[in-house]
Symmetry: C2
Subunit: 311 residues, 2 copies
């Protein structure tokens, strides 16, 4: 029996003493000068984002418990890009990181089985290494329980995790997620996620489920209410840093004792070398800037682990 995802994540968070995870979102145009591709061929472009991602992973490996690798940034380069995504998952595993595959897939039950096979299942083909598969993935809850069930079954059987998108960081999402009178749509989705995850066999020793939620912090009251409604649901929290959330606004995302949430920072860490303050301090040494930014984020979020009851 594989160890439960929530238990593995809790151990890794304690080991690094921070709930910060780094998002790997490589964009060709933002790469350091030395990594810019020399021509406009696909393989050269993929090699460039791969070199960058590989170095970022190595830089953050001893600083944070996990990375979140966003498949969309790799799929900008078609199938070859997605192959690089899997290589980055493997590389992060070899560097001792837990890996969340940010894939946000969502389709009807029969298709969801195929997505789950490719993105979360232990590979059944002899030349695909198991380390290519992330420890958890993000999915859309959009199509109901049948669409999420194949992922939950793998989480149960193989010690993996699933984060269902409940309250996104995209401000424009409010026109969809704030729908509803007495009950808001995101609250309705949250209740479904609670129900899907609060089942025998899905709860780890740490008291949390392998079925989590992606929840961006909004106003403190609504975030605290959502947190109270999901007492066994681990959260993956987007929106910190470049998107505007702060350590303080992330506070209500945690359960009492600083449990149950990890906070993702992407741009504010991996493109730190483009920010004037880091540029002034580190010049062309982009790797030093990334390392320093990662330390700053880890330090900024560290107090959340020892915070008394949130709210």
């Amino acid at each position: 029996m594989a160890e439960h995802f929530a238990d593995r994540l809790a151990v890794a968070v304690q080991a690094r003493a921070t709930p910060a995870v780094v998002g790997i979102d490589p964009v060709l145009e933002y790469l350091p000068q030395e990594l810019q591709p020399a021509d406009r061929r696909l393989s050269t472009s993929v090699a460039a984002i791969e070199s960058f991602s590989r170095r970022i992973i190595e830089l953050v490996a001893r600083r944070v418990p996990a990375v979140k690798i966003n498949a969309g940034f790799f799929e900008a380069f078609y199938g070859e890009g997605l192959s690089a995504y899997y290589r980055m998952v493997a590389h992060a595993h070899r560097c001792g990181l837990l890996v969340i595959g940010d894939i946000k897939r969502g389709d009807i039950g029969s298709t969801a089985q195929l997505y789950a096979r490719g993105h979360l299942a232990r590979p059944s083909l002899e030349d695909v290494p198991a380390e290519c598969i992330p420890d958890a993935v993000t999915v859309a809850g959009y199509l109901g329980e049948n669409a999420v069930r194949p992922f939950i079954e793998l989480a149960r059987e193989e010690g993996k995790g699933v984060y269902v998108l409940v309250r996104p960081s995209e401000p424009g999402a409010d026109q969809v997620h704030e729908f509803g009178q007495e009950l808001r749509f995101y609250q309705h989705l949250a209740e479904l996620v609670r129900r899907w995850g609060d089942q025998p066999g899905l709860i780890g020793n740490c008291g949390l489920s392998c079925v989590g939620a992606v929840v961006a912090p909004k106003d403190p009251a609504s975030t605290a209410a959502l947190r109270a409604a999901l007492p066994r649901t681990p959260w993956l929290v987007p929106g910190y840093g470049a998107q505007g959330a702060t350590a303080e606004s992330c506070g209500p995302c945690f359960l009492p004792g600083g449990r149950g949430a990890v906070i993702n920072a992407s741009r504010s860490v991996i493109y730190a070398f483009r920010q004037p303050a880091y540029l002034a301090r580190f010049g062309q040494d982009w790797q030093a800037a990334v390392a320093a930014a990662c330390d700053a984020v880890a330090d900024d979020l560290r107090p959340l682990l020892t915070r008394p009851e949130a709210g």
Copy 2:
């Protein structure tokens, strides 16, 4: 200026005299005996689903106006599988078909730009042929307008189409989509999709937008009401055949004069050779069974094009 997607689709539907499109959903376990892979290596498995898909595309090319290629079935084989998806898009184009990429991606605006780059944009890399990119894709409307906007911009600029998932065929999706009191969630989403698509520059000569909707037929009254609320929105209709919808239940999906909808059939066509009736008639000749099933579906749906006002 590229020709408008809705105009191109309307011409193709008239040319084949049927609103049927065939869904390419290759599953290794369901392939004909002669195509089963000889070993458990990734490249062999991808070659098997690719051979099958390639042959299906050729069989249906003169029978239907378009194919819908489902990325999930290819992603079951990782990046290599997704590369095969792009090759199948190109192959279908070379066979004279329009191609809908069924990718159902949905992420925040900044990530959606990258997904749009990989899945709908004209390739900017010199060794990626434009024919690899589908004419339209399906997306999740889940994260609001910013998340769909990059796809709509490409649709406007490059004559492409976007189908936003409004009412899925998955029965379990009702627990999400039937949410809401006065207004149901799917109706709310539909109104957003209408608003996103009913803009200057997005409407083709045929009177339809490049922003469409995925809408499964449910009870005739609610389907007709949704159709009336979306007078300029082209529909991609799932659920026909193996999933239970019939030509009759698809009737209310059309605008007056049989305009504005295509009906997808996947399993009932591409796995016809596994059905007892076709097995009895064609034996091991699986390609003859697929061709006959495709003709049967095209014929079954043909009368919908000349149907008087739906409802």
